[in-house]
């Protein structure tokens, strides 16, 4: 009974991990989603209008991290160098070299060298074409994906913190706190979120923090009911009563005995909170009440697709990237739900290792 032996995974957790792993679609979806998110986190290395690293007259430069004035490369202006400018390029190529990312455009780079009208169709220069302002669609999807996911992540974490705290307090203490809390929530959930956001958009310059704050005010409501019900149930469990009889304070009882029960329901809820957050953000951007103009956003891409029906690559890209992201999340959610379902039986494991509980064949003689 060394301390590290005590902290190992409980059999319940191990069983859940096993079920999740056997849920092929969910398992691969999680990997694929994780990979896509990791790639998008490194978006600056993949799609950028600045070189990653360069050498000029024997000295090393890191334009991605540091802003150098143009005069550094014998230019005329004291402003930040534009590495796509033919003059700067020529200077650097003559006195050194540059290492460009695979896509030499950032999400707001306007490509002025396009032959013909914008939006331009996909070619070797712009893999997914450009939008109606000559910006690279691939770069915008990459950055937009990152923004959507981080926004959803922040919103989910915030909702869980708020929802678990408020639902937990209501369920554990019950009585008046519960009664008034529930009535307050009923009124609160009657407020129209979308209208509030639209009104807000006309009052302040909407940025990502404003959007996050406003949506956070409402997104925790769905969690409260689940967490409250779990706390109500768990506070009368015998091992919780035993903990009270041992003299443990409420906060410890809640953390050790009640919260783990509530977290099961909460965890299965996460992927659906997540997809909800992404769809809301996209919808707001599509309507034009979302992120400030110029931000890489999938909703804005959908709007562009709608406005430029002659350029189907815009709509198709938006559709594919959104549906891929949302489907992956729903698959992960299904896997989580099965993993936390105590009645779920690992069917694919039955062939490999038969245990008494997982025989499915009808075998009444």
């Amino acid at each position: 009974m060394t301390p590290n032996r005590r902290q190992r995974l409980s059999p319940i957790t191990r069983r859940r991990l096993q079920v999740f792993r056997h849920h092929g679609r969910a398992y691969w979806s999680l990997w694929l989603f994780g990979l896509l998110f990791a790639l998008s986190l490194a978006a600056e290395l993949i799609a950028n209008d600045k070189p990653i690293v360069m050498q000029y007259q024997g000295a090393w430069y890191f334009p991605m991290l540091v802003d150098y004035p143009e005069t550094e490369f014998d230019g005329f202006l004291p402003t930040t160098a534009d590495y796509r400018d033919p003059f700067v390029r020529e200077q650097i190529d003559r006195h050194g070299w540059m290492l460009w990312p695979p896509v030499p455009f950032s999400y707001q780079t306007l490509d002025r060298d396009i032959q013909g009208p914008v939006p331009s169709p996909p070619d070797s220069r712009h893999w997914l074409g450009t939008d109606d302002q000559g910006r690279d669609v691939f770069a915008r999807v990459l950055y937009g994906f990152r923004l959507s996911v981080t926004f959803a992540l922040a919103l989910t974490v915030g909702s869980i913190l708020l929802g678990v705290f408020i639902g937990g307090a209501q369920g554990y203490y019950g009585g008046k706190i519960d009664l008034f809390g529930q009535r307050l929530i009923e009124i609160w959930s009657g407020l129209p979120v979308l209208f509030l956001l639209i009104i807000l958009a006309s009052l302040v310059e909407p940025n990502i923090w404003w959007l996050l704050g406003i949506m956070l005010l409402f997104s925790w409501l769905g969690l409260v009911d689940i967490v409250r019900a779990e706390f109500l149930r768990a506070r009368n469990l015998e091992y919780v009563r035993a903990a009270r009889a041992m003299g443990l304070p409420s906060r410890l009882i809640m953390r050790r005995h009640v919260l783990p029960n509530a977290m099961v329901a909460t965890l299965t809820f996460i992927p659906f909170l997540f997809t909800g957050a992404i769809t809301t953000l996209t919808a707001l951007d599509f309507l034009g009440f979302g992120l400030p103009p110029g931000s890489p956003s999938l909703g804005e891409l959908v709007a562009q697709g709608k406005n430029n029906l002659q350029a189907p690559w815009l709509g198709i890209t938006a559709f594919v990237s959104l549906s891929l992201m949302l489907s992956l999340l729903v698959f992960i959610g299904e896997g989580l739900r099965d993993a936390f379902d105590p009645r779920h039986i690992v069917t694919s494991a039955a062939a490999a290792r038969p245990t008494p509980a997982n025989h499915d064949q009808e075998s009444q003689p």
């Binding site: 319940i12 091992y239 009889a245 041992m246 003299g247 050790r256 008494p356 064949q361 003689p365």
Partner: protein
């Protein structure tokens, strides 16, 4: 008799995948005969009967020859099964609380059974339903027909279930632990009723029970099962008087025995309560005055001296558990509680929580009282680590080993999880969790009633040893006087929250003053 037996099983085996639940069971029931299958929980007694009648979930394999009144059960179609079950074969299950549909009245449920199997409708069905309720000796039949299941007591519900089972005049009645969930006083009545019905209707009765001594008076033949195997079979008389197998002898001897250790003269007063009562407010209906509060425990006084055991006895609903929880202030109460010269009822917050270390409780349900997410070592040491944060991990580990040793569990089970243990072992873990805090008063709330008789006996012996070793004071709650006699120095009898009588254990058992106590003594078959 040369005619074919009513129900016969030959070399019945049941598998769940790799696990063999029942192997090579032979059994036959004649008309008008009572056969009892006896064994501890997990011995395969219920499984064998359910399996023989095709009631097991898919995934089980049943092998062997099964006949009912000459028909081969292995070759019945689904339709024939349905006619047989509920028609010629009646069932009574263990849980009277869940076997009745809570959304329909008793009368409606009975009429439904009659309509499905006999095609009776309207007045004919109502008349028959009444006759059935009268047959199972239920009072006030008219009221009962319109009653909902939740308005009935456990014993009454079990009678209704029996009425449903005999509605179609079955040839065979299977009663699977029909009395286990009931109070001791009611158990006898139900068994007597089953016996009488068997004689009157001339049906075969197959009784499944874990308590060998309970079936003694009613069974003609007994089959003893252990781990899916038949260990002994014979007439009830032969099995009880000359048991062949060691296991049978164990089951017969599994009666709580022994007496508590004699008390040291004039021990100091540890816990006293005076004018102590527990009431629950009832919800206030809209626009009407609040109804009077429900009195769970009427004002009473009690005293506990150090090293003593006070037994609290009563049927379910008599307020025993409420009394225990309120005494250690897990429930609100009024009146004075004095613990070791301290007014326990005036403590609050932090001081009360610190004081709880000395007042520990062990609950009835060994499955619910341990958190499934924590290892045994974590469960046992949780209170210790909170009350003594200064202890180093090594000391904590030592104390865990000590506590496990006290309850006769191997020291290496600390890193395992509760689901790996049997009911008796879990109850030991719960006791270890209480003991590690070195309490002065230990409240035992029906610690043995969820356990098999043999395990019960071991646990009682363990509790007596632990009491002597640590000079503990017990408040022992039970509905079973046989268990209480083996544990308690003094007894307090509760009924509907009121103290019926209180006094020295042996005196009270020999010369009970109230009819209620006499009924309890009779039910526990103490003589």
């Amino acid at each position: 008799m040369s005619q074919t037996p009513l129900f016969e099983l030959r070399r019945l085996s049941i598998h769940f995948g790799e696990t063999q639940a029942v192997s090579e069971l032979d059994l036959h029931v004649e008309r008008g005969e009572t056969v009892a299958i006896v064994g501890e929980s997990g011995s395969g007694k219920s499984v064998s009967v359910l399996g023989a009648l095709g009631l097991l979930p898919p995934g089980s394999q049943v092998a062997g020859r099964r006949t009912f009144a000459g028909r081969d059960l292995g070759r019945l179609s689904r339709r024939e099964w349905n006619d047989l079950r509920g028609g010629s074969i009646g069932f009574v299950f263990q849980e009277p609380m869940t076997s009745l549909n809570p959304l329909h009245t008793i009368g409606k449920q009975l009429r439904e059974t009659l309509r499905l199997h006999q095609g009776l409708r309207g007045n004919a069905a109502t008349r028959r339903a009444r006759a059935l309720l009268a047959q199972v000796e239920l009072p006030r039949v008219d009221e009962l027909m319109a009653a909902w299941p939740h308005q009935l007591s456990g014993g009454q519900r079990q009678r209704v279930m029996i009425a449903m089972a005999i509605a179609n005049e079955p040839q065979l009645l299977i009663a699977d632990e029909p009395t286990t969930a009931l109070d001791v006083t009611v158990q006898r009545q139900i068994l007597a009723l089953l016996d009488e019905l068997r004689q009157r209707l001339g049906m075969g009765l197959l009784l499944i029970s874990h308590d060998l001594n309970l079936v003694r008076r009613h069974a003609d033949r007994v089959i003893v099962m252990q781990q899916g195997k038949q260990v002994e079979t014979g007439t009830a008389r032969a099995v009880f008087e000359t048991p062949q197998a060691v296991y049978t002898r164990q089951l017969i001897d599994a009666v709580p025995s022994g007496r508590p250790r004699p008390l040291p003269p004039q021990g100091e007063l540890l816990l006293s309560a005076s004018d102590f009562s527990v009431t629950f407010k009832r919800p206030k209906p809209l626009l009407r005055p609040r109804p009077p509060a429900f009195v769970a425990v009427a004002p009473l006084s009690l005293e506990l001296r150090r090293g003593e055991t006070l037994g609290v006895v009563g049927e379910s609903g008599s307020g025993k558990s409420t009394l225990a929880s309120a005494l250690i202030r897990l429930l609100p109460s009024s009146g004075e509680i004095r613990f070791a010269d301290q007014r326990l009822d005036r403590l609050g917050g932090e001081t009360l929580r610190r004081q709880r270390r000395a007042l520990q409780i062990v609950f009835q349900d060994p499955y619910g009282s341990l958190s499934p997410r924590m290892s045994v070592a974590d469960i046992i040491s949780e209170g210790l680590r909170f009350h003594h944060p200064e202890l180093t991990p090594t000391v904590v580990t030592e104390r865990i080993a000590e506590a496990l040793h006290d309850v006769d569990l191997p020291a290496d089970c600390g890193h395992r999880y509760p689901h790996e243990f049997s009911g008796g072992q879990r109850q030991r873990i719960a006791i270890a969790r209480a003991l590690i805090l070195k309490p002065e008063l230990l409240i035992l709330d029906e610690p043995t009633s969820a356990l098999d008789r043999t395990v019960q006996k071991q646990l009682i012996e363990l509790l007596r040893d632990v009491q002597a070793k640590h000079d503990l004071t017990y408040l022992f709650i039970s509905h079973d006087l046989a268990v209480v006699r083996a544990m308690a120095h003094r007894i307090l009898v509760l009924k509907d929250g009121k103290v019926m009588e209180q006094g020295d254990c042996e005196t009270l058992l020999h010369s009970p003053r109230t009819a209620y106590t006499r009924a309890l003594i009779e039910a526990s078959s103490l003589t």
